[in-house]
């Protein structure tokens, strides 16, 4: 429980103007010498940290007493298609194991479905201490009401401290529903996670639609809930020795009654998924015309990779939305990515910063992409790319 207290007596027009300027969300206004904070406030607290001292204060009152020790374990929701486990689940179990080293908490996996015990056992190989399974024919397909019931039942019985869900379409539909039922927080699309000794999960993500990272905590609520996208963390290697166990949990008949009726399920044809690519050439707004896209595609092809892009190039119709890298596109983790004419906004970088080798081509010395690149090539793409293509083509001819 906390609120902003405005010490109106300390306000003068100059301070009011300064505070108005500091607020990135235009939430501070003043009228007749009184300062107001509107609903636009995002609690970034810049007004307290950067504003004139003492004018705005954060007042914390009556602590809710939360016994953090009652909540133990880092749980991962298992995403699967008829028992075939999505890799994001393994990535999250790997991360959970790392985080668990700080608190000594166990690592859990939760799996819902029908006839899935065998598949669930595979998760033990990746270091889950316990895999909790709800195995019912009613759970064969994703029905939000039943999945929310089972997920909540798991939370009520097991009381995990932190929960991670893959940010797939399914995960994004389910996680907020469960978080709301538990009246707890949810942080979407975390790009970094850390653990405090008191079991507070530190959730880091790009935020506020600008070039800034936000560090978010859920200090007074359990469980702590976050979603993480595919390819943000690495897949752990399976363990040789493991001693986790499978635990079957049960639901009451009324928890298995759904209002949803599935009429048909049509598998989507498998498309190029840039998330899976090992080599990517990504284009940005440095490309001056649609014709330049051909250069990018040729380079990608010569290297045996795929082409991708930033959001503006999807918006102007040069690329299919599935080729977009970034916060509102895909996350990629290739062995090599060459970025061409890309500035390196946090939203873009959030989708590719974990790539093994990043070569950035940009003519502006101070482009932020050079802060994440392993190799920065400062020059004009129109000069570099055609010559590079020639060199690679020449090489391939020699090889013939």
């Amino acid at each position: 429980m906390a609120y902003f207290k405005i010490n109106q007596e300390l306000i003068d027009p100059e301070k009011a103007a300064l505070l108005k300027d500091i607020c990135p969300f235009s939430a501070i206004s003043s009228e007749n010498g009184r300062l107001e904070i509107s609903a636009a406030c995002k609690m970034c607290k810049l007004c307290i940290k950067k504003g004139p001292q003492g004018v705005i204060e954060l007042v914390e009152d009556e602590e809710i007493t939360l016994n953090k020790d009652e909540w133990r374990g880092i749980a991962v929701f298992t995403e699967h298609n008829k028992g075939e486990i999505h890799n994001v689940t393994l990535e999250l179990i790997g991360k959970a194991r790392e985080l668990a080293l700080v608190t000594g908490h166990p690592v859990y996996a939760l799996m819902l479905g029908s006839d899935i015990k065998e598949a669930a056992a595979k998760l033990l190989h990746y270091g889950a201490d316990k895999v909790f399974v709800y195995d019912y024919p009613e759970l064969a397909d994703f029905k939000i009401d039943l999945y929310t019931n089972a997920f909540s039942d798991f939370i009520n019985k097991v009381k995990p401290s932190s929960i991670m869900v893959g940010a797939t379409n399914l995960g994004r539909t389910l996680a907020p529903r469960v978080a709301a039922r538990q009246r707890t927080g949810l942080t979407a699309d975390c790009t970094r996670l850390e653990m405090k000794e008191n079991s507070d999960l530190v959730q880091i993500r790009p935020a506020f639609g600008g070039n800034i990272m936000a560090q978010i905590v859920t200090p007074k609520h359990r469980p702590q809930f976050c979603t993480v996208r595919y390819k943000v963390f690495s897949t752990p290697a399976p363990l040789e020795h493991f001693n986790g166990e499978l635990v079957l949990l049960e639901l009451l008949p009324e928890q298995l009654q759904s209002v949803y009726e599935i009429l048909s399920i049509e598998e989507k044809p498998r498309e190029v998924d840039i998330s899976e690519a090992e080599i990517i050439v990504a284009a940005g707004r440095g490309l001056k015309s649609k014709d330049d896209v051909a250069l990018i595609e040729e380079l990608a092809k010569l290297l045996g990779g795929v082409s991708a892009c930033t959001r503006p190039l999807v918006e102007n119709g040069w690329f299919d939305p599935k080729r977009q890298i970034g916060l509102s596109g895909r996350t990629v983790k290739p062995k090599l990515i060459i970025t061409v004419g890309i500035s390196g906004s946090v939203q873009f970088v959030a989708g590719m910063r974990n790539s093994d080798c990043i070569i950035a081509i940009n003519e502006a010395e101070n482009a932020p992409i050079f802060d994440v690149a392993h190799y920065g090539i400062c020059g004009d793409l129109n000069e570099i790319i055609p010559q590079l293509l020639e060199m690679i083509r020449g090489e391939q001819e020699h090889g013939l």
């Binding site: 406030c41 940290k49 797939t168 994440v372 190799y375 020059g379």
Partner: protein, 263 residues
């Protein structure tokens, strides 16, 4: 079919930057706009009204300026809208935002269908719709590509899941979140603009809610807290190359060769 669409006002530009060292704000153009994803939700609502009758209203939570997006929705075809605005809502995270909207929705006329957009462009990622549904005790479904049929108080929707397209039926009233780009939103109409009646835009605040307990809203009602904000860290070990186009092309080629991406 009476429909309510949840719409949000978002910054018109993506370039709101804060210099974390000086706290100075780098703003280029601060104008706001209607969240583009909510336009698809609005268009879907208009199309459903055209096919099955009924009318669409909108709701938006935000500062008083958010009235602008409600007006825009009315120019597009909504019959009216409410802005939920109160400084005690300041600092609301997903949970508190959804709770506030659910309280506001309880004060609106009865509806058959609630529609939310896929996500907002100012940072969040499509969680508010599902949480509103939970607070209202309604079934919900995300990533809706199309509404195929409405009959006998049931709706059939086509849903974009990760590896499949699923058609499913759920009872009304319910909440759906649209997928991106599912239709071509209409433009605001000039005639509707001229006929606009101020009374169709209503502001409501905490005073109007059933639950007036301040601690359930704004920062107090938000389980998540922003501990700090910071610029992304830099990679110190990068290697920079300068020179002519030919030299740089050769540098890239050498790097690719060294790492066996070309042989």
């Amino acid at each position: 079919m009476d429909i309510i669409v949840c719409i949000k006002q978002v910054p018109g530009t993506t370039n709101v930057e804060v210099d974390p060292l000086t706290g100075v704000l780098i703003r280029d153009g601060v104008e706001s706009k209607l969240n583009p994803y909510d336009l698809f939700a609005l268009e879907l609502a208009m199309q459903l009204n055209a096919a099955d009758g009924g009318q669409t209203s909108v709701i938006s939570m935000g500062p008083p300026q958010a009235g602008a997006v409600v007006r825009e929705a009315i120019f597009m075809g909504a019959v009216g809208g409410k802005v939920v605005s109160d400084r005690r809502f300041a600092g609301a995270d997903v949970l508190a935002t959804s709770y506030t909207l659910s309280q506001g929705l309880r004060k609106m006329a009865d509806f058959d269908l609630l529609i939310c957009g896929k996500q907002t462009t100012d940072g969040d990622t499509g969680q508010v719709g599902a949480e509103i549904a939970e607070f209202l005790g309604l079934p919900h479904i995300g990533n809706v590509l199309a509404v195929e049929e409405i009959k006998n108080r049931e709706i059939v929707v086509k849903v974009n899941l990760d590896s499949s397209i699923v058609r499913q039926k759920l009872p009304l009233p319910c909440l759906i979140c649209t997928d991106g780009d599912i239709n071509t939103p209409r433009l605001p109409s000039y005639r509707r603009k001229k006929e606009f009646n101020e009374a169709s835009l209503v502001f409501i605040s905490l005073e109007d809610f059933d639950d007036k307990d301040e601690s359930h809203y704004g920062l107090s009602g938000s389980p998540t807290q922003v501990e700090r904000i910071f610029p992304p860290e830099k990679n110190q070990e990068k290697q920079m190359f300068h020179g002519s186009g030919t030299e740089l092309a050769a540098n890239v080629y050498a790097l690719l060769h060294e790492q066996k991406f070309v042989d």
